[in-house]
């Protein structure tokens, strides 16, 4: 049984050598009644690499912004307690002054671009400090070289890949000369190759040892090799753990798991196996450690659960034949053939720009396919008007806000029913029913834009479903969301699928694919390069590598372990719901 999270109430005395020093920091956003974070104290010293963990809404981003004074100087909020940045009180210093100590990298690479070329972008910070031109250029060159971007200095940042743009953002922070680097989920929007790219760059920075790093990250599998200290907030924004990786991630893993914080896949697997009586004196954090722990041990058999069977014999629900598509004048899809059977859960994966969005949008009729190329339930998507099409397929856009057309949550759902010319009572009954099912009943009169991120996503799924379509297509539904919300959505999808809905999902998260899908379609440069059951596709390393993908961490962990080599899902492991 995990121990209850304890409050750590040690308040170390102020440390004058600390770069960052937080004492009893409590932050309340404007128009919010509960403070997140709440009474948080810690120090960051030169050279440390600190991971800040916590469930969604615990105040990690807020705390990160407070570290250079953006909260409260740029984002309206009340800050109690003190934040000291290299000895300066953040409450009285200007953000511009603090910026020379704390550099920031945010989640969305596009929202950090200000100028037209890489060089101008990196020079922007030093220019603001009114440094002489020579030293601006010198700093820019050093920072760009460290991130491996110097050769591309005259290019527009728009031509970089997502990972490249995040490396540019790191270069910009380095050029400020700040001894502390704060990164808030720097890889949330990237494909697997982009994530590797960013972490390779960060490893270089750490290797030089001249900066302290504070990292907010959900993707622990990528981060765990880099960090040496972990700070954990609970749902209420209180500090519950602060210590070395061993002391927190390994020793208090059960506790963190109970908090809803995501852990490395190898750790989760070990927690699960531990339930079956298999001892793990020291929990593994990486696939290699897990493999080492399991080597030569007697392991209970793997109860590889059968995946829900699909009726292969029935006629396919979706039939794509010889599909070509172009964006503007560039051909994006070449000769795609694809069949999807009713009741399947299909994941579409591939690198950024491979054509996944184009493929699923063409299938759902968001982009118009050529005649006869796409049929859903026998009807030609090209020749069907949107109203009829809505009864065959529902599409969920990456950004739910794009798709909202009404001013209340209720009307948003009711819109789809009214279009079917149902009576008012019927519309009300079915809308209330759906809102209740999605946990939105108490938000019925709220403007859709005022919902939380997770609620917005559920509402957008609801709008796509309400037409009664047997096929639901979702474009990166877990994009930019934390684990808790992603899991909530994915179990919703599992339920829908159990009730007979066919589901197609585009995603970059291979573990999501492994856990939920039964079939994977790999898109690479506009062609389908692999299509088959999840286990088979993930076993084919060559195809994955060519498409810029990597197998899910669990598979990596169990590769070559006797009796486990087919495991890709947590639920394949014995040990119940770990």
């Amino acid at each position: 049984m995990p121990t209850r999270p304890r409050f750590v109430s040690v308040t170390p005395t102020a440390d004058t050598t600390a770069l960052l020093s937080l004492r009893d920091v409590t932050i309340t956003h404007l128009e919010s009644d509960t403070p997140t974070p709440s009474r948080v104290s810690f120090d960051v010293r030169p050279g440390e690499v600190v991971l800040l963990l916590g469930p969604s809404g615990s105040g990690k981003s807020t705390l990160a912004l407070a570290m250079n004074g953006l909260v409260p100087h740029a984002v309206p909020a009340t800050v109690e307690g003190t934040v000291r940045v290299a000895g300066q009180d953040a409450a009285t210093a200007t953000v511009a002054d603090l910026a020379t100590t704390v550099g920031m990298v945010f989640q969305d690479p596009d929202a950090q671009l200000i100028t037209g070329t890489l060089l101008d972008e990196v020079a922007f910070g030093p220019e603001n400090l009114a440094l002489p031109v020579d030293s601006v250029l010198a700093r820019a060159e050093t920072a760009l070289r460290r991130m491996g971007l110097w050769e591309r200095r005259h290019d527009s940042p728009d031509t970089l890949s997502g990972g490249g743009r995040q490396r540019l953002a790191i270069a910009c922070a380095l050029a400020m000369g700040s001894p502390v680097l704060v990164l808030d989920e720097p890889t949330a929007n990237l494909d697997p190759r982009g994530v590797d790219d960013v972490y390779a760059a960060l490893r270089d920075v750490v290797a030089e040892g001249d900066r302290a790093i504070v990292l907010v990250e959900h993707n622990l599998d990528a981060a765990v090799g880099l960090i040496d200290r972990v700070i954990v907030l609970d749902g209420g924004g209180c500090l519950v753990a602060d210590g070395s990786v061993d002391a927190v991630l390994r020793e208090r893993a059960e506790e963190l798991h109970a908090l809803g914080v995501w852990l490395p896949a190898a750790t989760l697997a070990a927690l699960r196996l531990r339930r079956t009586g298999l001892p793990f004196p020291r929990l593994p954090l990486t696939p290699a450690e897990l493999r080492a722990d399991l080597a030569g041990r007697e392991v209970p058999g793997v109860a590889s659960l059968p995946r829900p069977s699909t009726r292969r014999d029935s006629a396919p629900l979706v039939r794509v034949a010889g599909l070509r598509a172009a964006r503007g004048r560039t051909p994006v899809l070449h000769d795609i053939d694809l069949e999807i059977t009713a009741g399947e859960f299909v994941a579409v994966v591939g690198a950024n720009g491979a054509g996944k969005t184009t493929l699923v949008q063409t299938i759902a009729g968001v982009l118009r396919p050529p005649r006869g190329a796409v049929r859903i339930g026998g009807v030609d998507v090209r020749r069907t008007d949107p109203r009829t099409l809505a009864r065959h397929v529902g599409f969920v856009f990456q950004n739910p806000e794009h798709q909202f057309i009404a001013t209340t949550v209720f009307d948003e759902i009711a819109h789809g029913l009214r279009r079917q010319r149902l009576g008012d009572d019927e519309v009300r009954r079915r809308t209330d029913e759906l809102l209740a099912r999605f946990g939105l009943a108490d938000r019925a009169d709220v403007h859709p834009f005022l919902l939380s991120g997770g609620q917005k996503r559920r509402l957008s799924v609801g709008t796509a479903l309400v037409g009664g379509a047997p096929l639901l297509v979702l474009d990166e539904p877990t994009f930019g969301q934390d684990r808790a919300r992603a899991d909530e959505l994915l179990s919703l999808l599992d339920d829908l699928r159990a009730a007979g809905t066919t589901i197609v999902v585009v995603t970059h998260d291979m573990q999501v694919v492994a856990e939920h899908a039964d079939r994977v379609v790999v898109v690479d440069e506009g062609r389908i390069t692999a299509d088959g059951p999840v286990a088979d596709v993930f076993a084919d390393e060559a195809v994955l590598a060519r498409a810029g993908l990597r197998p899910p961490p669990l598979r990596e962990a169990f590769a070559g372990v006797p009796g486990f080599s087919t495991v890709v899902r947590l639920r394949d492991l014995p040990g119940g719901d770990a």
Binding site: L30, E31, A74, V75, P76, H447, F449
Partner: protein, 185 residues
């Protein structure tokens, strides 16, 4: 005080975002001008009236000094990038209309944001732009009925567009945009 020092980066960039949206509309209005002058010169006021939008939306979303003028100038720059032939017209109307909207707001010491206040500035804008419309469109040479229509529409155009702008601004407030920007410091 220089406007830049009372405007935070956040306010400035929110103005930029509103300026882009309305500036694109302004650029489109610029190209539409030719069609209107060819087809119905007396309706020119309706096109010119759309230039009130940047300030109205900005003041409705961000209730602070200077936002109307700044948003107008940014919108004019964006519109000029789209329809470079009207750079002067865009900058001129931006300074004129933005100035009037700032002036009316300043007279109420940035405390009154009732719709009536916006319509007062709309009527003033209408009267003031009727003059350039008269000369630039050579309204004097038109048939009497068209002349009356031209003057009436010059005044009604800004009023109608003000109503549109208020609607958009309220929609944005309803969507919870730019919270915390309206509290005066």
């Amino acid at each position: 005080m220089a406007p830049a020092s009372v405007l935070s980066t956040r306010v400035l960039l929110v103005c930029a975002a509103i300026g882009v949206g309305t500036g694109i509309l302004g650029g489109a209005a610029g190209w539409l001008t030719l069609a209107v002058l060819a087809g119905a010169p007396w309706a020119y006021g309706l096109v010119l009236g759309s230039h009130v939008l940047p300030g109205i939306i900005a003041q409705q979303v961000v209730r602070r000094p200077w936002v109307a003028l700044v948003t107008h100038v940014l919108a004019a720059l964006v519109a000029s990038a789209m329809a470079p032939q009207w750079t002067f017209r865009f900058l001129g109307t931006a300074l004129l209309i933005g100035g009037i909207q700032e002036g009316v707001a300043a007279l109420t010491r940035y405390r009154v944001w009732a719709p009536a206040r916006f319509f007062i500035s709309a009527v003033i804008v209408g009267v003031v732009i009727a003059v350039p419309v008269w000369f630039a469109g050579d309204i004097a040479s038109l048939a009497p009925l068209a002349r009356v229509a031209a003057v009436a529409i010059s005044i009604l155009g800004p009023v109608a567009w003000t109503a549109v702008g208020l609607g958009i601004g309220s929609g944005l407030r309803g969507a919870g945009v730019a919270r915390g920007l309206s509290t005066p410091r």
